[in-house]
Subunit: 136 residues, 2 copies
């Protein structure tokens, strides 16, 4: 006997970790640059899907982390993908300004070079500068 299966959705296909979170890699939709990795709980995924504005989960504050809420550096969701085991999301986003709290476009601004860890990106876009330009 066939039984009705609930439709497969992003939300019901996620494998939450023991803390109830899923990793989310944010990637700039047009350039492909990998901006950051953050975590989402169910509420953050639901809010991101509903609003189109990316909301992560702050493990330090134990609550929603609406990207750009205080800095203005918002992430607009363009597409959400899920990996084969459901443990990681890949969000294609439109990132305003800097994704990194250091003012850099991407959090991945350090690289192994000849045995040392080198900084390979300057903080060209600073939170303060961007907020000033925006008249904030």
């Amino acid at each position: 006997m066939d039984e009705l299966q609930p439709p497969r959705t992003l939300l019901n296909s996620i494998s939450w970790n023991p803390a109830g979170l899923v990793a989310c890699v944010a990637r700039q939709h047009d350039t492909g640059e990998v901006l950051m990795l953050a975590w989402m709980d169910r509420a953050a995924v639901e809010e991101t899907l509903a609003t189109g504005r990316v909301c992560h989960y702050s493990r330090s504050r134990r609550g929603p982390w609406r990207k750009g809420e205080t800095s203005g550096q918002v992430q607009r969701r363009m597409e959400s993908r899920l990996d084969c085991d459901g443990g990681t999301l890949l969000a294609r986003v439109e990132q305003t300004g800097a994704a990194c709290h250091t003012g850099r476009r991407s959090c991945f601004y350090r690289a192994a070079r000849d045995g040392a860890l080198a900084t390979i990106a300057d903080p060209a876009v600073l939170y303060g500068a961007v907020r000033h330009e925006a008249g904030a």
Copy 2:
């Protein structure tokens, strides 16, 4: 009094999670495609840096997961980056064949579409096919 500080390296700048692991996003170095997210322990990072061939950590097998050891689908490390809080690596790699165990190039082959989760990539590169072509 100045004291000699040990040089900052990738390895001593990683913030290991409580399980002693760090997340690693693997990205194809030329196309920029995000292939997968896996985990590394200290031994896996050391091996990857030393050999130039990516070794992850298998949480299910609790041991080294030398990418491609059985499938031939190896990842050659081109560059290793570390994010601002030290909790995530970004590996630029040269991926032979498929990164995903389903035979797909990338593990992120499902996307949210109109409320459903849609498969957006066919398994064009299958482990078996590639191994056969290689004479394995």
